[in-house]
């Protein structure tokens, strides 16, 4: 079952062979480079520098976007994302019907679906895959995406044991009925999430946690997993049995894991990689120069950098204090002086560009008003305000932002803040345990609907982590998500967001993330800018020779 055996034929062994052949004169490089090139494997059509080594490629377990991109190219769900604008389009399901009350979805699977190993894919596989995500034993961190399905939450939390009570049923081999708790306007977007992709039951049951390494691995998506060499390379090969195989634009894709921005950029500049799509792998200190290059692509997507206040702690339990701090942040200065990749200052939490939602107005930069708020709260001119800490992840950008905030608050409000850097995991543990005063935070939307941002701050939401509880906010959100009329729903959700970013401010939005992509504009096509920052592999291809000139 272990794919690692292919590794033995690789370099460490080959080194011995080839050094025997050459008399040991490694510096006679010219001839040698030629002879070494014939040892190399088949060349990939597209080489992508993907990000850090994937933690897992199991769709139910994946939480990192870079990993999910690979996982999604192997396993497809009922719907998938349109490469251009990231809206859900039919995938394994050919079509679907939605009932009057929008609470029942009937999916019709394509009848020509087969696994890459040749067995048919039926509605049973879909049921298995979804139940697997919910099953407490799988311990999927993304199981919440299926709590919109009837009894999904109950089954996941162990309140009911019988999976047949969950609202997903196979009516026949090609028809599925899904019952939802409430009308969920973004349910089709969820169906296109990697988490809900269809996975092979037999393989999983046979091999347990290491099933991804099974050989052959049955896949339902556009690609098969040819090699996964840890920290070296993941090679995907086109799945010829995929229903849409004729539209897969490349045969072999290599994904290189990298953790050094300099190396990534060197490889790209030397032509050994065609795409870099991890922002961490683009050297920030060179951003001023790089962003002027034609290969550098900057665009907006659904991500917000913001600050959490610990509302259970004095003096941050007072909304006026939180507002005072938020209003003193010169967001424009932060995006211009520090982040520099085209980020936009954020006055509200939900980023711009959502198809069916526009955020209400929040606060901008207004130190005058901030001082008033602070005085009202009992700290005129910052007098008597306790020294507090700003918690952030160790990292250059975060540190610079921290220093900038420190200066802004000291100069404008006369209050003292200490920097408290923490390594990544310690940072998360502290935020979860509410062991902070003010903490940097970020959130990336999962789908194109305001709910993916707003539901974080439900009173009992696990991701709330501010201690802020507001029953009115909970009610508005629940009411909004039951509302079928798009316009009315928008208004209700706007009211909720106003509570969050204007009236109470348990958080202070700072800026919206910008996506950064590096690819050869005149050679590669099929990578589009979209709000979800998703770029399905099957659409990526090389331009025809005539385009090159």
């Amino acid at each position: 079952m272990k794919r690692s055996t292919t590794f033995l034929g690789r370099f460490p062994g080959r080194l011995v062979q080839s050094f025997q052949r050459f008399t040991f004169l490694p510096f006679v490089a010219a001839t040698a480079l030629l002879s070494s090139s014939c040892l190399e494997e088949q060349k990939a059509d597209i080489v992508i520098i993907n990000g850090a080594e994937p933690g897992t490629l199991d769709p139910a377990i994946v939480t990192v976007q870079a990993d999910a991109r690979i996982s999604h190219s192997l396993f497809e769900g009922l719907a998938r994302l349109n490469p251009v604008d990231a809206t859900p389009i039919p995938a394994l399901a050919e079509k679907w019907e939605i009932s009057e009350d929008a609470k029942t979805y009937t999916f019709h699977l394509r009848t020509n679906l087969i696994w890459s190993t040749g067995e048919p894919i039926t509605s049973k596989d879909v049921v298995y895959s979804w139940i697997r995500v919910l099953d407490p034993i799988t311990a999927s961190e993304y199981a919440g995406q299926l709590f919109y399905v009837k009894n999904g939450e109950e089954f996941s939390s162990g309140k009911i044991k019988d999976p047949s009570l969950v609202g997903i049923k196979a009516l026949d081999a090609y028809t599925l009925k899904v019952e939802l708790v409430n009308p969920t306007p973004f349910f089709l977007d969820l169906c296109a999430l990697t988490t809900l992709a269809v996975v092979p039951q037999k393989t999983i049951e046979k091999y347990g946690d290491r099933w991804i390494m099974a050989n052959p691995l049955p896949t339902s998506g556009s690609y098969t997993l040819e090699t996964w060499r840890i920290h070296d390379k993941i090679r995907l090969r086109k799945n010829p049995r995929h229903w849409d195989a004729q539209n897969t634009r490349n045969n072999i894709i290599d994904l290189l894991p990298s953790e050094s921005a300099m190396t990534a950029m060197n490889l790209y500049q030397a032509g050994q990689a065609d795409v870099i799509w991890d922002k961490n792998l683009i050297p920030g200190e060179l951003m001023d120069v790089l962003r002027k290059q034609p290969d550098c692509h900057l665009y907006d997507y659904l991500g917000t950098f913001f600050m959490r206040f610990n509302t259970t702690k004095k003096p941050f339990n007072d909304p006026r204090v939180r507002k005072a701090l938020a209003l003193t942040i010169d967001k424009q200065r932060i995006v211009e002086r520090i982040t520099k990749s085209g980020e936009k200052p954020a006055d509200h939490f939900v980023p711009n560009g959502m198809t069916i939602y526009k955020s209400p107005d929040g606060y901008g930069y207004d130190p005058e008003q901030a001082r008033k708020f602070l005085a009202e709260a009992g700290f005129p001119g910052g007098k008597g305000f306790p020294t507090f800490q700003y918690l952030f992840k160790v990292g250059e950008t975060d540190k610079q932002i921290g220093v900038e905030l420190q200066a802004m608050w000291r100069d404008q409000l006369g209050i003292n803040m200490e920097l408290r850097p923490a390594e990544t995991k310690v940072y998360y543990t502290s935020v979860t345990a509410m062991d902070y005063d003010v903490a940097r935070s970020s959130w990336i939307g999962d789908y194109n609907d305001p709910n993916t941002f707003l539901d974080m701050f439900l009173s009992n939401g696990g991701n709330n982590r501010t201690g802020w509880k507001n029953p009115r906010y909970d009610d508005l959100l629940r009411e909004g998500n039951r509302q079928l009329d798009v316009k009315k729903r928008e208004q209700i959700l706007q009211k909720a967001e106003t509570l969050l970013i204007h009236d109470e401010m348990p958080i202070a939005p700072i800026y919206y993330y910008a996506g950064v992509l590096f690819f050869r504009t005149n050679e590669i096509e099929g990578i589009y800018y979209n709000l979800l920052d998703e770029h399905p592999f099957q659409a990526i291809g090389r331009k025809q020779a005539k385009g090159k000139l």
Partner: protein, 424 residues
Amino acid sequence: MYFLRRILQMIPVLLVVSFIGFMLLRAMPGNPFDSERKPATPEIERNLQAKFHLDESLWKQYLRYLGVVGDAYVNVSGVAPAETGRMQENDFFQTDSQPLSDAEKKEIIQLADQTYTDPAPVGTKRVFLIGKDSETLRTNAPVRTEDERVGYVEGRLKAKPNVAIVRLTQPDLVSAEVKASVKWAKSGLINGDLGPSLKYRNHTVNDIVKQCLPVSMTLGLLAFFFAMATGIPLGCYMALRRGEWGDYVGGFVAMLSFCIPSIVIAPLLILWLAVKLKILPIALWESPWHAILPTMVLGLYFSGRIARLMREGLSTTLNAEFITTARAKGVSESAILWKHAFRLAILPVLSYSGPLLADLLTGSFVVENIFQIPGLGVFFINSIFNKDYLMTVGLVLLYALLLLVINLLVDASYSLLDRRVRNE
């Protein structure tokens, strides 16, 4: 006898290393599963912890890591899966040593009905598994045959905690007719199993070591030979030119080589040889040519040290009385150098090369990161940041083992080179 004793001594050393490593790592703040997103329910979080046994007491986790406690329950046979929802009399995994009487079976079924009021959904198959002690029968623990997972423990009977109900996911693999011998997976350090990785969830620590250690070892050996091949000649040259300008120039070069860290020298060499001159690859690990730059960068630091050690060793030896005696007897200069002095002069280099080799073989974070080499070095550092406890402990143990073995070899070669040293 001496070596046997040395080998036996390794066992307690490794145990102590594993214990200290394990406890220190667990004392670190931070949790491997904390991230920007919290699991959807506390239940999921609990399951995640339980899956990797992080919810147990530290002592037990450690013993489990050793393989003393844990899923090492063996040889249960005789199976008949239940077709109906309720458990029945022949639904027993039964140990060979403890046949159950009918009365006992009845009692267990009764208790099962009390614990599990809901019948199993049609199509699922459950069986009883009677364990020797209740500890091994954890919820969600996998039940496997020799090579395949056939089910998992669904829960234990409240009144009889040594009886578990097992949900079979592959009932056809364990049938009454076959009388398959079902056993728990052998796990733990004593079985050579370093456990799962908490970060790389599709791989075990063993998988990762198996894939990445050969790469690190190849690079490490190359760098070792590079360091030796450049350091020893340079050291000899310096010793023979003691006090002359050659000595000072050589000393300066040696000093330079270990004063400039690889994080500086690597980008410079890449810029010059790979980017500007384009005669060597920038990064990756594909052909012998990809090994040249990392070998140089990794070896350069140590070649300076070795040169200095060699110089010290040789110049001290050349001043020794027995060399003067040899000279007086009229032995030729080259015979003095190679036959008599060199063998003793290399001893400091030899004792330094033990830990050096262990260091090099387990990989270097900086070099592997810069050259994007799929070795183990990167895991040493990253596993600590990821709180991937088992991975870190596993790698530390690997390092300790290599160090012990190589030191043993060094000691052995001592006695070959210097007749005065006897290994007692």
